[in-house]
Amino acid sequence: MKIPQVSVFVSNRPGRLQTVCRSLADAGVNLLSLTLADSGEFGLIRLIVNNPEKAVDVLAKAGLSATITDVVACPVNAAIGGLAELLSTAVGSQQIDYMYAYPSTLNGSNIMILRFQDTDKAIEALKATNFKAIDKEELFKNT
């Protein structure tokens, strides 16, 4: 149920994102989703890739520090109120640290990537709803 996400620490200056993407591409790692967070001096690049362990090694060789954390991928209705519907369930009362959209659909549904403070508890909460978290195999199926 958990999806491994790679987070990379970078200095906030031009060219860093390029280094990250180029290193992964050259190593044949498929980049599926990406989001940036910054705090002036530095930034975090969060990535969903088809081979997270390899990505961390490749980035380390490029002189970058990265780590893997678990996130949850959840389908939401591709219609008005789709996300609101998900958050109206018990999932909505979980502590969500951040979320972003995954740039492809699955069986007509949009996919949201959610980072919960307590992933296990959130997955439990999700089980009681009509929403079914997407597992790693399914998400990476055609990559």
Partner: protein
């Protein structure tokens, strides 16, 4: 204590170590005799020392006890620069078999010379230090101190060779090859600057080589002050035991003093070097146990006798006897050099304090650099800290927390506000010899 030490199976006293255990009375007698000879040599052969002594109205014959050393004028680094290159030599150059020099980053380098006899003494003191730390003739030693004009490389080399160990004179640099040879040559001991060894640890990790699985058991480190935290870091990462050797080129190079297996201070090889502690302000001698500036006089050097050299190192001579039973006295490990001191808004700051603060905050030794600058007519102290893999989080809040933790830990120790900037790994300059920790961009008044 002496008898137990001689019979201790774990830490055997070998015949070569006998001088470290000389009865104290005999040691003082020997020191006085050698001091008188050295003062006489310096007075007769070195114009600078003669002029200074004449100014004070001191004659070599006035040195009747060891305490009379306080009558002798001081010398300092500037004296070596001012007499560049050979002005302090007491022998003809034909008797000098080796020259060394400092890097001379600020103007002219300082030059030191050795007679054949001086070279033998140097090798012997280093050897005694190595023996005291448990190094033996069976060791295969990777020496990554820089070879060349710097006294570190060849000084340590000479000591290990006198010991009969197998020395690999690899010098500094080419870190990946350092790791490869360490593995392939079955290296059992390493020698060099602690900061460069930390670099080797990093590179080995990147290469997927676990140093703790190799044969390396011991390391001898020196040429720059290093904290106990750095020692813990080195030992935890590699499983070796790390020992501190002390020295300075002006006196002989490495081997002025060295730790023993007890690692409770640095034994000075007192039969060749006479240590004193002075108050750096009043220049008055301080009793054993009190902290001040270390002053050293050579007792046997022929090419370049040095009287009461102000080392700029802040330490104290220990009052108590070491558990090893050595009678030669110890100084506390050097944490601070008055040369390294940064004055920031009137507060004295030492790089080693920042190292301690970082270790306290993260229990790991990140690479760091101290940058001093002037912004809006205000001096600022910025500490750049490299973020290692263990420190990264996916949470922005956690990264900001890490920054705050470093900042808080440093400010608590220094008592002044600092800026902490988190940087990417390998973004700060690396040294292959002594670490350059401070960049000063402040506007000079």
């Amino acid at each position: 204590m002496l008898t137990t030490a001689w019979n201790d199976e774990e830490n055997k006293v070998l015949p070569e170590m006998a001088l470290d255990f000389m009865p104290e009375e005999k040691l003082r007698e020997l020191q006085l005799q050698r001091l008188r000879a050295t003062v006489k040599l310096a007075y007769e052969k070195v114009p600078l020392f003669r002029e200074r002594m004449d100014e004070k109205g001191v004659k070599p014959d006035d040195i009747k006890t060891l305490a009379d050393i306080s009558k002798v004028p001081f010398s300092m680094k500037k004296d070596l620069r001012d007499t560049y290159p050979y002005g302090l030599f007491a022998v003809d150059l034909s008797e000098v078999v080796r020259l060394h020099a400092s890097s001379g980053t600020t103007g002219k380098p300082i030059v030191v010379g050795y007679t054949k006899e001086d070279m033998e003494v140097w090798a012997q003191v280093v050897k005694r230090g190595l023996l005291a730390c448990g190094f033996r003739s069976t060791d295969i030693v990777q020496n990554f101190y820089g070879y060349g004009l710097f006294t570190g490389g060849l000084g340590i080399h000479g000591g290990f060779e006198a010991l009969g160990a197998t020395v690999i004179p690899i010098s500094g640099g080419n870190t990946e090859r350092q790791v490869m040879l360490m593995k392939d040559f079955g290296v059992t001991a390493v020698a060099g600057t602690p900061s460069y060894f930390v670099r080797i640890i990093d590179v080995a990790e990147k290469m997927g080589v676990d140093l703790s699985k190799l044969n390396v058991k011991r390391g001898i480190f020196g040429a720059e002050p290093w904290s106990d935290g750095m020692r813990d870091y080195i030992e935890e990462k590699t499983g070796i035991k790390a020992y501190d050797i002390y020295g300075l080129s002006e006196i002989v190079g490495p081997g002025v003093g060295c730790e023993c297996e007890c690692r409770d201070g640095i034994h000075i090889f007192e039969d060749h070097f006479y240590p004193e502690i002075i108050d750096p302000e009043t220049l008055e001698p301080l009793p054993d146990g009190e902290e001040g500036e270390l002053v050293i006089s050579t007792l046997s050097k022929k090419a370049m006798p040095i009287l009461r050299y102000r080392t700029r190192d802040i330490t104290a001579i220990e009052k108590t006897k070491c558990k090893c039973g050595r009678t030669i006295r110890r100084i506390r490990r050097i944490g601070r050099r008055s040369d390294d001191m940064i004055i920031m808004r009137g507060v004295n700051v030492f790089p080693s304090q920042i190292e301690t603060a970082l270790l306290r905050a993260e229990k790991a030794l990140p690479h760091y650099q101290i940058v001093l600058d002037t912004k809006n007519n205000m001096d600022t102290l910025e500490v750049k800290v490299e973020v290692s893999r263990d420190m990264v989080s996916d949470s922005m809040g956690a990264m900001e927390q890490l920054n705050k933790k470093f900042k808080h830990s440093i400010e608590q120790i220094l008592g002044i506000s600092v800026i902490v900037t988190l940087c990417e790994p390998d973004s700060l300059p690396r040294s292959e010899g002594k670490a350059k920790r401070v960049v000063d961009n402040r506007k000079k008044m």
